[in-house]
Subunit: 216 residues, 2 copies
């Protein structure tokens, strides 16, 4: 096995380090965050840091830098209080990746990429029309991570939209039925296929699959 | 499309809500966090919240509850300052899921599940022998997310181990070559396959694949 130490990571060329460190923590969620400025300019950008924070209340988090490339997203969220989270699907990966280009603030990535700007149920932020799972979110709080000047944004999930066929009777959304992708590092898009789903684990009891009918 | 509102989420039966809200944000990283208590008891548990926080310095984060099921992990990290992050691979999903069972503190999930307790380069926390990508991490800080009493743990990546063959010349680790999985909700394990990897996006320039040689 190759072994790399912290001292070696520090000495690496910048892009090499970015690629290695961004990929070593595992797959990341693949979402487009869409917002609108107070002046009405829409914005949409790829984020790989959207994470579940809690179910009751339903909260998610994502990490951003207040003063770098994602500043339009952050500025718009602080101006309006709202944003949407839209899954990236296998058919949208090129368009999604293109949103990472540094467009001027007055240019809409929707217009430039062919992603559809969609408004649902009077929500103030746009959704991505092509996305099969989308969330309407309200800004709740932010935490400054002082170790590297990033921000953890905490938001409440106010609306969930999805195709009814991907939900199992126990509430679970089967993401491979929706064609949602995952991100590998900064720029790799991977399509997962479900291997198995397991019942609640208990000590000294064999792990049981949801799909096994051996004992039924 | 099915539309669910925040008011409906609040009214849901608890397990249904857990399943829905845990799956709606997209795929999550699939890792085993391993620790050792001051008394020497090893512990290993599944976490789906490990996230990249920054590359320089190399930092990762994960979310935990100080007083619930993951308390052994948190307690051991605070006692010793160290833990490891070990990718879950397609051949380990049953063993990994079994670590979520509520074992007593003095019982080692390594012994109960057949996961191999491995020590590398005098690091104080155990690694998981079967994992093909593993990180040795040092606790740096924690942030209390007051909205739901969770903690964001921030840690420095001190060691990275992986099979040399999965690294591309630009530093990127190809996770499907390692067989790493992703988590769908609380209990679904999915195996991603790389669709494509794209070069840095620039305004008004077509997205270019790393694997396309049309223009070379």
């Amino acid at each position: 096995m190759k072994h790399i130490t912290a001292a070696e990571i520090q000495q690496m060329e910048k892009i090499f380090r970015l690629n290695l460190v961004n990929s070593c923590t595992g797959y990341k969620s693949a979402n487009l965050i869409a917002t609108k400025s107070q002046k009405g300019n829409p914005n949409v950008a790829v984020f790989s840091s959207v994470t579940h924070l809690g179910s009751d209340p339903a909260l998610l988090g994502f990490v951003t830098r207040p003063l770098t490339v994602e500043r339009n997203t952050y500025k718009n969220i602080r101006e309006t209080g709202y944003f949407t989270v839209n899954h990236i699907h296998e058919k949208m990966i090129e368009q999604a990746h293109q949103t990472a280009a540094k467009y001027d603030e007055h240019i809409s990535e929707f217009a430039k990429t062919g992603l559809e700007e969609e408004y649902l149920d009077d929500f103030p932020a746009p959704y991505v029309g092509q996305s099969e799972i989308k969330l309407g979110c309200k800004y709740v709080n932010e935490y400054e991570i002082k170790e590297n000047d990033t921000l953890l944004i905490v938001a409440a999930i106010e609306h969930i939209y999805f195709d009814e066929g991907i939900q199992m009777p126990d509430g679970w959304l089967r993401l491979d039925d929706a064609g949602s992708v995952a991100i590998n590092g900064l720029d790799g898009y991977a399509l997962p296929a479900l291997l198995d789903r397991f019942h609640y684990a208990r000590p000294d009891q064999e792990v049981k699959s949801f799909f096994s009918h051996e004992n039924s």
